[in-house]
């Protein structure tokens, strides 16, 4: 653990129902288990499902604000193409983007009133050339459970943070139902291999 007062800022975004809150809960617990001070906040709109969701995770020696400043995110982990663009200004000049290659159509698009932009990934890569783009749904299908997409991306994210892999493994084991541990650990390590 680095002993300076650096605070890590991870912004996780997407659409309600994608497992964003769970992913950020696990990341928060991992950082705490490693000995960091942690603050985490999420805003999840009014509806149970389908709204834009963002979760802020911050950790370091001491953390005051639970929300990340615009321009302060070290990593923007996005589970949906458009949502990446919506929260893009939170990313710092040197920030990384990890993107799930998925489109979920907002109401104005599925009702035919507005188009879903076609060049989202190109525009993100124009700003952040080393953006990691992974089709999480396909990877999850390959692993054998469509619901592990969030843990695959937690695996990718872990490559960009300084917390040892054992801490993630320990927290995943503690926070999941026993029968789901193996498949999620597999998903986590698959994610790590995709990051490199």
């Amino acid at each position: 653990m680095s002993d300076n007062n650096r605070v890590y800022n991870v912004l996780i975004v997407g659409v309600g129902g994608q497992g964003i809150i769970l992913a950020s809960d696990v990341l928060g617990r991992v950082a705490a288990a490693y000995g960091y001070d942690v603050k985490k906040n999420e805003i999840h709109g009014m509806a149970q499902r389908g709204g834009s969701v963002s979760s802020h995770v911050r950790f370091g020696k001491t953390v005051s604000s639970p929300i990340i400043r615009v321009g302060e995110a070290d990593v923007l982990l996005s589970f949906e193409q458009l949502e990446t663009v919506r929260y893009f200004p939170f990313l710092s000049e040197k920030g990384k983007v990890i993107l799930n290659d998925q489109k979920i159509l907002p109401p104005a698009v599925f009702t035919g009133k507005q188009e879903y932009p076609t060049d989202v990934i190109e525009k993100i890569k124009a700003k952040v050339p080393d953006t990691v783009v992974v089709d999480g749904n396909s990877v999850a299908q390959k692993i054998g459970n469509p619901r592990v997409v969030n843990v695959i991306f937690l695996g990718i994210l872990s490559k960009y943070l300084d917390i040892p892999v054992e801490v993630y493994e320990k927290v995943l084991k503690e926070s999941l139902k026993p029968k789901l541990v193996d498949i999620n650990l597999k998903a986590f390590h698959e994610g790590r291999s995709l990051a490199s």
């Binding site: 705490a32 603050k39 149970q48 499902r49 709204g51 615009v70 000049e93 109401p107 989202v120």
Partner: protein, 593 residues
């Protein structure tokens, strides 16, 4: 070991550790989870959902009168509903500690206004404590109960969305019971607020306010943190954390109690710093009080009155710019992603039937408020919980023929029990021809499916009564009461039409469980599909606004195909409610194989 807890988990934990014997609440974002955690984790606490916040506070007051430590929880607008008991509880005082947890929602993430609860503390002359993280949320429940018992007053614990829904590390401890002797104690001079007694209590309230203000000067959660003396910031709650983040070198007067204010401490801090600024969200409660002390201070001219603050807003307000270097926006026209009724939502079916009747709809607060948004667009006003029935009655009676047969009130089941019964009684009593539709989805859906008195079970899943809406309306004197299944859109549409034509008040109960509920499920969960060649592209199904439907544009039509596009169903999202099938005039929708 420290645990990572949300502010709401911290408050629930605080209730447990500091000996709360009874807790009562009505769900409301961002306060809901407090009572859910109490229900799940702390069987030592007698706990339950009340039909509304007024009742929740009265139940908690009863426990406190009997010497027990008690807690009532609500969102900011819930205190409006509970304002009547609140204002006079200040006069009677308590006995056992009483903490009223009120969670504000600056920025209105999930609320109809952003009123500042500290005004109620000032109005009711009741102390107000404000946590800035989860540890303080837990600790200040204990302090609130102590102050409540020490000064014989209810105490507000004011949280906000960013405190309630943020997680941070919390040190926990064991439970200790409250110090007061329990029992029924007669003391009419204190507890019976007849004018003669109340006149004696008012000076007690005024003296108490002074006593609490002196106590505030030495209260351990009001503390000075001296750094660079060129800038001194007074802040409480989440605003303190934002200011600390943005200006780590500044000096701080951190207030754990934001009403009444510690005058000596404020004077001491003001004398130590060159520039004094109050950073607070919403109203200038602290700033105005400091100005009344004759102290020069800046505040709202820097931070504004509307919306929530953030670290960068504070940084820009005081320093002119933010140190964080943003990569900047991506230039792109971005479709919004507003919340939406879920696939299979019974409200969508009811709104479809209302739309066919081309009515004006007076509504209120619940998932069905989302019926105001396009493409549904069928909710025409939303004022507060329970308001739609009275508003529809007022329109009906005052506009005569202009409104007759054209205005409907809608209300959910939980909202009906919360504050819809008295306006329904008014309708029966004063008459008119208003039609009310109770959209009974068998839960309190908007806040995450909490049980209500119509459901037959309690907070802790214990079996209980199931209040019968039809019988309630019948007992009120309603003669026209109809019950429909909203998914039978045609039948619902016809029923609404018939009741709109009636010359007396009528009630329609559109009953089907929330599509997210796993119990009492009537949905088939068998997805439908659209025969692309049969679909005429008329968008009747699309205009129900179901997220499982998609309009697919035809860019290069085949010879003779005049359609601009056709509809498609996302089978992964469809739960088979058949509302789209009911509105399709071309038999283009069938069960997917």
């Amino acid at each position: 070991m420290k645990q990572l807890l949300s502010g709401n988990e911290g408050i629930a934990r605080g209730a447990y550790e500091y000996g709360v014997r009874l807790a009562s609440a009505y769900p409301g974002t961002p306060s809901t989870e407090i009572m859910e955690y109490v229900g799940e984790r702390y069987p030592e606490i007698k706990a339950g959902w009340a039909p509304n916040e007024k009742v929740a506070l009265e139940v908690a007051a009863g426990a406190a009168y009997g010497g027990a430590r008690a807690m009532a929880c609500m969102k900011h607008v819930g205190l409006n509903v509970a304002a009547d008991p609140f204002m006079t509880l200040s006069y009677t005082g308590v006995n056992g500690g009483l903490v009223i947890v009120v969670c504000d929602d600056p920025e209105m993430h999930s609320s109809q206004n952003e009123q500042d609860t500290r005004n109620f503390a000032k109005f009711g002359k009741v102390p107000c404590l404000e946590p800035s993280d989860s540890q303080e949320a837990k600790d200040l429940v204990g302090e609130a109960l102590k102050i409540s018992e020490m000064f014989d007053t209810p105490v507000i614990l004011r949280s906000s969305t960013r405190v309630s829904h943020s997680m941070s590390l919390v040190e926990t401890q064991d439970r200790a019971e409250g110090p007061k002797e329990l029992g029924l104690k007669k003391d009419p001079m204190k507890f019976v607020m007849l004018p003669a007694m109340a006149r004696k209590r008012h000076p007690v309230v005024e003296q108490r306010q002074k006593d609490v203000a002196s106590f505030a000067d030495t209260f351990s959660h009001n503390r000075i943190i001296m750094n660079d003396d060129s800038l001194g910031i007074i802040a409480a709650g989440i605003a303190f954390q934002y200011a600390r983040e943005a200006l780590p070198n500044a000096s701080f007067l951190k207030l754990g109690m934001s009403w009444p204010l510690p005058e000596n401490l404020i004077r001491e801090f003001a004398s130590k710093v060159k520039r004094l600024v109050v950073i607070e969200e919403l109203d200038p409660i602290i700033e105005d009080a400091v100005k009344l002390m004759g102290i020069k201070v800046e505040g709202k001219e820097l931070t504004g009155l509307c919306g929530e603050l953030s670290p960068e807003k504070v940084e820009i307000a005081l320093m002119g710019s933010s140190k964080a270097k943003s990569i900047g926006p991506i230039d792109m026209e971005l479709p919004l992603r507003p919340p939406n009724m879920c696939p299979g939502c019974p409200h969508r079916a009811t709104f479809t039937a209302l739309k066919k009747n081309k009515v004006y709809v007076a509504g209120d607060i619940g998932c069905y408020t989302l019926g105001a948004l396009p493409p549904v667009g069928m909710l025409d006003n939303c004022l507060c919980m329970g308001a739609g029935i009275g508003i529809a009655a007022g329109l009906d009676r005052s506009l005569g023929e202009l409104a007759k047969g054209k205005a409907v009130a809608v209300i959910g089941d939980s909202t009906f029990f919360h504050s819809g019964m008295t306006p329904l009684l008014e309708l029966a009593y004063n008459g008119g021809s208003t039609t009310v539709v109770i959209m009974d989805n068998r839960t309190t859906a908007m806040t995450g499916a909490q049980p209500n008195p119509g459901m037959g079970f309690t907070l802790r899943n214990d079996p209980t009564i199931s209040a019968d809406i039809e019988k309630i309306a019948g007992a009120f004197g309603f003669k026209r009461i109809r019950t429909v299944s909203p998914y039978n859109v045609k039948e619902t549409e016809d029923t609404i039409r018939e009741e709109l034509q009636a010359d007396e008040p009528s009630l329609i109960i559109a009953r089907a469980p929330c599509a997210l509920l796993k119990t009492d499920r009537i949905l088939s969960d068998k997805p439908l599909r659209i025969k692309a060649d049969v679909c005429k592209g008329c968008k009747s199904c699309i205009n129900t606004g179901c997220p499982a439907l998609e309009f697919v544009k035809i860019d290069e039509p085949a010879e003779g195909d005049k359609r601009k596009g056709y509809s498609r169903i996302n089978e992964a999202l469809c739960v088979g409610c058949r509302t789209c099938q009911e509105v399709c005039k071309f038999d283009a929708i069938e069960e997917a194989s």
